[in-house]
């Protein structure tokens, strides 16, 4: 991944399901907007083009770790070119709920070659900051179960057939994902946020980390500055 030279900023949140990253991202977006920044939020796996294929595959449990990985890379490429880069060029702040690191952690946990998946995503632009919400499996499981009871098939790693019990499978699979995230912290300089604390404390920390990265003149970006 190469650093970008666009006038905008790209901030990313990472972490397993139940880490609270989406909540933190929403609060961050609120704050940035209220400060006068133009914000665009994008989610992992949300582009229309590949949604159909992902769905077909999921329905039939037809995805292998490799096709799962490649489909997500396709989706990401589509989103990068149509949703992420244009707002960056326009000087906006792009907030990404998950980024290539999700693929690095999940695909490797599924048995895909660690180096291959990194090279696969080398076309991505390096974020200005990536926040990793680190949480123990038990805490995330408690949050997920309290919220919606049913664990998602692929999030629980049920496709790997390690356990027919979703909770047990989740524990095993996400345990591996956490190990992979730990590697990424050093390799890619992810900013760790311990995600066990209160939502408000975490958000304060997030804003403290983000604030110095905001160019003050972004507040006054207008038409007269664009060429």
């Amino acid at each position: 991944m190469k650093p970008h030279e666009y006038p905008g900023k790209l901030f990313v949140v990472e972490g397993i399901d139940g880490s609270g990253k989406t909540t933190q991202l929403a609060l961050l977006a609120k704050w940035l907007t209220s400060e006068g920044h133009r914000v665009f939020v994008t989610e992992w796996n949300s582009s229309a083009l590949v949604k159909a294929a992902t769905k077909t595959g999921k329905k039939k449990n037809a995805l292998t770790p490799m096709t799962f990985s490649l489909l997500h890379a396709t989706d990401f490429a589509d989103r990068l070119l149509y949703k992420i880069i244009p707002p960056l060029k326009a000087g906006m702040i792009v907030l990404a709920d998950r980024y290539a690191y999700t693929a690095f952690a999940r695909d490797t946990a599924r048995g895909v070659d660690r180096q291959w998946v990194r090279e696969l995503y080398s076309f991505a632009v390096r974020p200005d900051l990536a926040l990793y919400f680190r949480v123990p499996i038990d805490v995330s499981l408690d949050r997920l179960i309290a919220r919606r009871v049913k664990l998602k098939f692929y999030e629980a790693g049920m496709d790997l057939g390690w356990s027919s019990n979703p909770v047990e499978s989740f524990r095993m699979f996400q345990g591996r994902v956490l190990d992979e995230y730990d590697r990424l912290v050093d390799e890619y300089g992810l900013q760790v946020i311990e995600a066990r604390g209160s939502i408000t404390d975490q958000q304060r920390l997030v804003r403290t980390v983000i604030a110095p990265l905001l160019a003050p003149r972004e507040l006054e970006v207008g038409d007269e500055q664009s060429v």
Binding site: L49, A52, A53
Partner: protein, 252 residues
């Protein structure tokens, strides 16, 4: 846009050390491979027939299959973009003409991965001769023409298995134009009209196919192509294919 980075990466066949083509081993992964699918020692053989549109690949494959089966070999055929998982998505994307070159490359790679895991590898494991109508070289050539980073493409397809034999059916553009016009006319994608080099489909077809041929030529050494002159009559070509396949299968 940010194209795949230009960082120096080892070419296919040389994961960490050594020099390019020397590292290719037929029947093994080109690059990093699929760790959860070890394929060493599988008895089947993979034979790829490559070449641009209109060189007569499918005719040759039919004849080769017949002949192999008469000899007693079990044969499985596989093609390019035929996987049930991705076919609808690719057709949709093609018809709406919304794909950019990167997503195009990745969709085809996904499709290939599906076929590799579900058709090719099981067939090789079971001892079949797998005849592949086009292989990754088609993708490499098309993406190469469209300016996608070559080292990145080779790393991407590092999960592909190096065929035991790659036959490249080669024709010149003039012959190709005659055949395509006689058979069915020029279509949008075969003419590279997505590259938007002008409205004239004839000029576009000629330029695009010329570029494709140059891409194939540049891969011939790298991937150990056995180049076959496809301007000759069908029977002559088939005879040459059979001679080379027989020599390979009998040498084992």
């Amino acid at each position: 846009m940010s194209s795949p980075s230009d960082d120096a990466r080892p070419p296919i066949g040389a994961p960490d050390d050594g020099d390019s083509a020397a590292g290719i081993q037929p029947g093994r992964y080109y690059g990093r491979g699929i760790p959860y699918l070890p394929i060493n020692g599988y008895p089947g053989k993979l034979i790829a027939i490559e070449g641009t549109d209109g060189v007569g690949r499918s005719t040759q494959i039919q004849l080769l299959r017949e002949w192999l089966e008469v000899q007693g070999y079990g044969v499985v055929e596989t093609g390019w973009t035929r996987s049930p998982l991705m076919q609808p998505t690719i057709e949709l994307a093609k018809s709406s003409n919304t794909l950019n070159k990167l997503t195009f490359v990745l969709l085809y790679a996904t499709d290939f991965a599906d076929r590799l895991e579900k058709e090719i590898i099981p067939a090789l494991k079971a001892g079949f001769v797998v005849l592949s109508d086009r292989y990754i070289f088609t993708a490499l050539a098309r993406a190469g023409v469209r300016g996608v980073d070559r080292p990145w493409l080779r790393s991407l397809y590092g999960f592909a298995i190096a065929p035991h034999l790659v036959f490249y059916l080669k024709v010149d553009v003039k012959t190709l134009i005659g055949r395509v016009l006689a058979a069915r006319g020029m279509d949008f994608w075969e003419s590279g009209m997505d590259l938007k080099h002008g409205d004239d489909i004839y000029d576009s077809f000629r330029d695009y196919q010329n570029k494709l041929l140059r891409e194939y030529a540049s891969m011939a050494d790298e991937f150990h192509f056995r180049t076959v002159d496809a301007r000759r009559p069908v029977d002559y070509i088939q005879e040459e294919l059979r001679r080379q396949v027989a020599a390979f299968l009998e040498a084992r």
